[in-house]
């Protein structure tokens, strides 16, 4: 016990009407990488907010013991002073400031009250070397990628003499290469004696990097697994998270594929600002009724750009190409035109592009199809309520009422609201961009069932996903996209991760 750096003893935290944490006990050994897993809404982030002082002492019950002393943090500065630094999923960097300025933001190196820029940049360069970030310290944050920004956050933590580093979903927005680099860095920091807590949905990463995994479910700490000793598998973790053996992460289905419903021919799109850069390069593809078609590609391959340019030209300039629905050419120049022609697009970033978070569930669901609730020029609020409640039941949206504010829902439930919204426009073709991003295993399964149900109703479904197992698990046919072009098309029975990866990384000169 004396070797533990952190002990959270019997932590209980309640919100009005909800017990978010119920006597949770967490022990973190010095110098380990400790993973915390759990479904969305299980209480992981709440636990970390208690630890870092976001929820100050007095608003929870139980003890936080850090380095053998009971701590009573009343804000984040208190916990940072002890060497506990949390890096949130949404990075807290200022885009127009330099890397060095961001690293020392709030913690500036000063002589006689003035910032010593030479020393700042020099120290920043040292910290950047420790995290393996090869950039000029004076480069602005907005000019480096998300993966590098994540490294800046870690360098910032190091500047605060971090002892316990907490990372909330650090790889959610990163591509595979950046993720791998980040995980290496965590191992490296571990070698330097820095303890890490990592919250992640990506079980393969946890399997690769964690020494111990604590599973939280419904506000309870279910179990702590020693990854190496017990040779814990991903299936074992999933079992703990969902409280049941989940043999198949993807529901079984017998596809009934009908006639072609959508065909796109020679689709080209250019970058909206850099107008000479081609983003979607001569893509032709099709979807049939009842078919789930996947679009695979590494980040930046042009999948989202293709989908959004198709959906009412909502991305890009100088868009050319033809779209046919059931063999008849249709126009999709504006979003309302696209919707009227039976297209729907559920965005990859539901908080920024999908939902009005300050508005209730009902009004979010009805927004794209508001006209269908109108009679004599007025919206029928009661019919709208009824319809939204039907979706709440059929989609299993966990909320006391459809008058609940969407910003207060968990990621999985928000995603169900987004899907409800688009199902209610009664589309023939649904484009789902990263439909399960940032949501937990149990909710993912539910989303898959919904997708399959929509396909069974005869709709054509296009799924964009960065997770290859997901595409392989639910799609009937997969297009691989690289650098804006389709580089391969494979049927489910022929598809392997290796084959798709080969197509996805195919460079222009080589084909």
């Amino acid at each position: 016990m004396s070797n533990s750096i952190l002990e959270m003893r019997s932590i209980t935290k309640t919100f009005p009407g909800v017990v978010a944490l119920d006597k949770v006990t967490l022990t973190v050994e010095r110098g380990e990488i400790h993973a915390i897993c759990g479904e969305n809404g299980a209480g992981k982030s709440t636990l970390m907010k208690v630890l870092s002082g976001v929820y100050p002492f007095g608003t929870y019950s139980g003890d936080i013991v850090f380095e053998n002393n009971i701590k009573k943090f009343s804000n984040i500065r208190d916990s940072e002073a002890e060497g506990i630094v949390i890096i949130h999923q949404e990075l807290a960097l200022s885009p127009y400031l330099s890397i060095a300025e961001n690293i020392f933001l709030g913690n500036e190196i000063k002589t006689f009250g003035l910032i010593d820029w030479n020393k700042t940049n020099q120290e920043a360069a040292k910290l950047m070397a420790r995290v393996g970030l090869e950039e000029n310290p004076v480069t602005a944050i907005k000019d480096i990628g998300v993966g590098k920004q994540q490294l800046v956050e870690i360098a910032k933590a190091l500047s605060k003499k971090v002892k316990l580093l907490i990372l909330d979903e650090p790889t959610a927005a990163l591509n595979d290469e950046d993720s791998a680099h980040l995980l290496d860095l965590l191992r490296h920091l571990k070698g330097q004696g820095i303890t890490s807590i990592i919250i992640s949905h990506k079980l393969n990463e946890i399997e690769a990097v964690a020494d111990t995994t604590t599973i939280i479910r419904d506000g309870l700490a279910i179990e702590s697994l020693h990854m190496k000793q017990d040779s814990v598998s991903q299936e074992r973790i999933i079992k703990g998270m969902v409280g049941r053996e989940m043999e198949n992460r993807y529901p079984a289905r017998n596809p009934e594929i009908g006639d072609e419903i959508l065909r796109v021919e020679h689709w080209n799109t250019y970058h909206p600002i850099d107008r000479n850069r081609i983003v979607v390069d001569d893509i032709s593809m099709n979807v049939r009724r009842g078919e789930i078609v996947g679009l695979a590609g590494i980040m930046g391959a042009g999948r989202t750009e293709f989908a959004r340019s198709l959906f009412g030209h909502s991305y890009g300039t100088n868009i050319t190409g033809k779209v046919f629905k059931s063999g008849k050419e249709i126009k999709v120049k504006t979003i309302s035109e696209a919707i009227d022609n039976g297209l729907a697009y559920a965005t990859e970033d539901r908080k920024r592009y999908g939902l009005n978070l300050i508005e209730d569930i009902k009004r979010n669901i009805s927004l794209a199809s508001l006209k269908s609730f109108v009679s004599k020029g007025l919206v029928n609020n009661n019919e709208e309520f009824k319809k939204a409640s039907e979706y709440r039941d059929s989609m299993n949206i966990k909320a006391p009422s459809v008058l609940s504010i969407t910003g207060q829902l968990s990621g999985g439930n928000q995603q169900k609201v987004v899907l409800s919204k688009w199902i209610n426009v009664n589309p023939d073709v649904l484009i789902l961009d990263e439909p399960t991003r940032g949501i937990d295993v149990g909710a993912k399964y539910e989303i898959y069932l919904i997708i399959q149900r929509l396909a069974a109703e005869g709709k054509g479904i296009i799924v964009i996903s960065s997770e290859l197992p997901e595409l392989l698990g639910i799609c009937d046919r997969i297009y691989a996209i690289a650098e804006g072009r389709i580089t391969g098309e494979v049927l489910r029975k022929d598809a392997t991760p290796e084959l798709l990866m080969k197509y996805m990384t195919m460079e222009k000169g080589r084909s």
């Binding site: 809404g41 592009y353 009005n356 919206v379």
Partner: protein
């Protein structure tokens, strides 16, 4: 992490669900308004603040700000602002003067016949809508922030007001025109004489007030029964009745007071119609819903197929028309169109909206809330005047009230 854990459903949930129907913020400022009225009733000499004449004055003195606030709350919910409305009101006052009084014959306007009062009002509002077309074009289709467009408009239309009025005043207006700002419904008590009702109370005012209360009850009861029929959570029954009985009593009291003065001001009728109509627009029409959606999350609104530019454009056209109506009310009340009219009114309208609970970031706000916000300011100014409080102290207090009202809003949100 504020997900709803289903098994945690218990005592707290039932209270939470019960409170859900009760809009604390809205009821809070409403109570603040009542408290303010009571405070001045107790402190003003001879209870001058609750005399029939004073109620009448309150309405006609604040009517033009409230009309501006209706348009302003819509603009603010969509995430914009309009700084030009005071200047537009002055400009339109001048336009109304030219249309109905026509004193500029010597300057080449002699081809223009003096229009009847109603055509003058319609014409003035149309010109206001054209002003809105101008501003809406720059905001919606060119994409210049409304702050800039309307800051420019503030100067531009003040200049236009000076140009139109040739740096002097136009007046007096025809009596019918004046009535909209200064007149009363059946001031001569013809209805009393007809029926033989005691002459102390204006019968028309009493009848209209009672009708108003009946309409209010029909509306709230229909809404409630509709919600219950569809299994929605409604306010607790006792709270619902208490609230609406208090509300009705207040309406009846005000009506009773007005009946002892000159009767119901025409301005009040205009306002009541506008408040009712715009409440419906904001809650029940796609246009109103789109305004909330745009203010709440612009990107999501665009991707939901909403023609954001069109909504923004019409928002400013609407604001222009309402600013014009406000200008007509001002001119009618002063019986003269003057270039300095409406100076600073945009700030009063904006304050009303924020005191009334709208969010600076957009997406939140109500027409009725803004009306209460406007009345709080009006009652405050009126009460302080009656207490002979100097303009220096008045401005200080007005500033603090705005700040504290918004601070209260921020605090109550943070507690959640």
């Amino acid at each position: 992490m504020s997900a709803f854990i289903e098994r945690g459903k218990g005592f707290f949930d039932s209270i939470g669900e019960r409170l859900q129907g009760v809009n604390l913020r809205q009821n809070g400022i409403f109570l603040a308004l009542i408290a303010l009225v009571l405070f001045f009733a107790a402190t003003t000499p001879n209870a001058a603040s609750i005399t029939p004449t004073n109620f009448s004055n309150l309405v006609v003195q604040n009517g033009y700000i409230l009309v501006l606030a209706i348009g302003m709350v819509m603009v603010i919910i969509a995430g914009h602002i309009d700084l030009s409305v005071g200047s537009v009101a002055a400009f339109i006052g001048g336009v109304a003067g030219i249309l109905t009084v026509r004193p500029l014959e010597q300057d080449g306007w002699d081809w223009l016949p003096a229009l009847p009062w109603w055509a003058g009002i319609i014409g003035a509002i149309l010109v206001g809508a054209i002003v809105g077309v101008w501003q809406g074009f720059w905001v919606a289709y060119v994409g210049i922030p409304a702050f800039i467009v309307t800051l420019a408009g503030m100067l531009l239309f003040r200049g236009m007001a000076l140009l139109t009025l040739q740096n002097s005043n136009i007046g007096p207006f025809p009596d019918e025109f004046r009535a909209i700002g200064n007149g009363f419904l059946d001031k001569e008590k013809n209805f009393n004489t007809l029926i033989g009702f005691p002459i102390d109370y204006n019968l028309t005012a009493l009848v209209v007030t009672v009708l108003g209360v009946v309409v209010l009850w029909i509306a709230v009861l229909r809404q409630r029964s509709g919600k219950i029929k569809y299994g929605q959570i409604v306010e607790p029954r006792t709270w619902f009745y208490i609230k609406n009985i208090i509300l009705s009593a207040m309406v009846l009291y005000v009506g009773f007071q007005l009946s002892q003065a000159n009767g119901i001001p025409i301005t009040l009728i205009v306002l009541a119609v506008l408040i009712g109509a715009y409440t419906v627009v904001m809650n029940r029409t796609p246009f109103g819903r789109y305004i909330y959606a745009i203010g709440g999350n612009l990107h999501a609104a665009v991707l939901s197929g909403i023609d954001v530019r069109k909504v923004n454009f019409w928002l400013f056209v609407n604001m222009g028309a309402l600013a014009a109506l406000s200008g007509v009310l001002i001119a009618a009340r002063m019986n003269s169109a003057v270039p300095k009219a409406g100076d600073g009114f945009e700030l009063d309208a904006i304050s009303s909206v924020f005191i009334g609970g709208a969010a600076v970031q957009g997406g939140v706000g109500t027409v009725t809330g803004s009306m209460i916000g406007g009345l709080i300011q009006g009652v405050l100014a009126n009460g302080m005047n009656l207490n002979s409080v100097g303009i220096d102290i008045q401005m200080t207090i007005k500033g603090l009230v705005l700040l504290l009202a918004v601070a209260f809003d921020v605090w109550s949100k943070r507690r959640k």
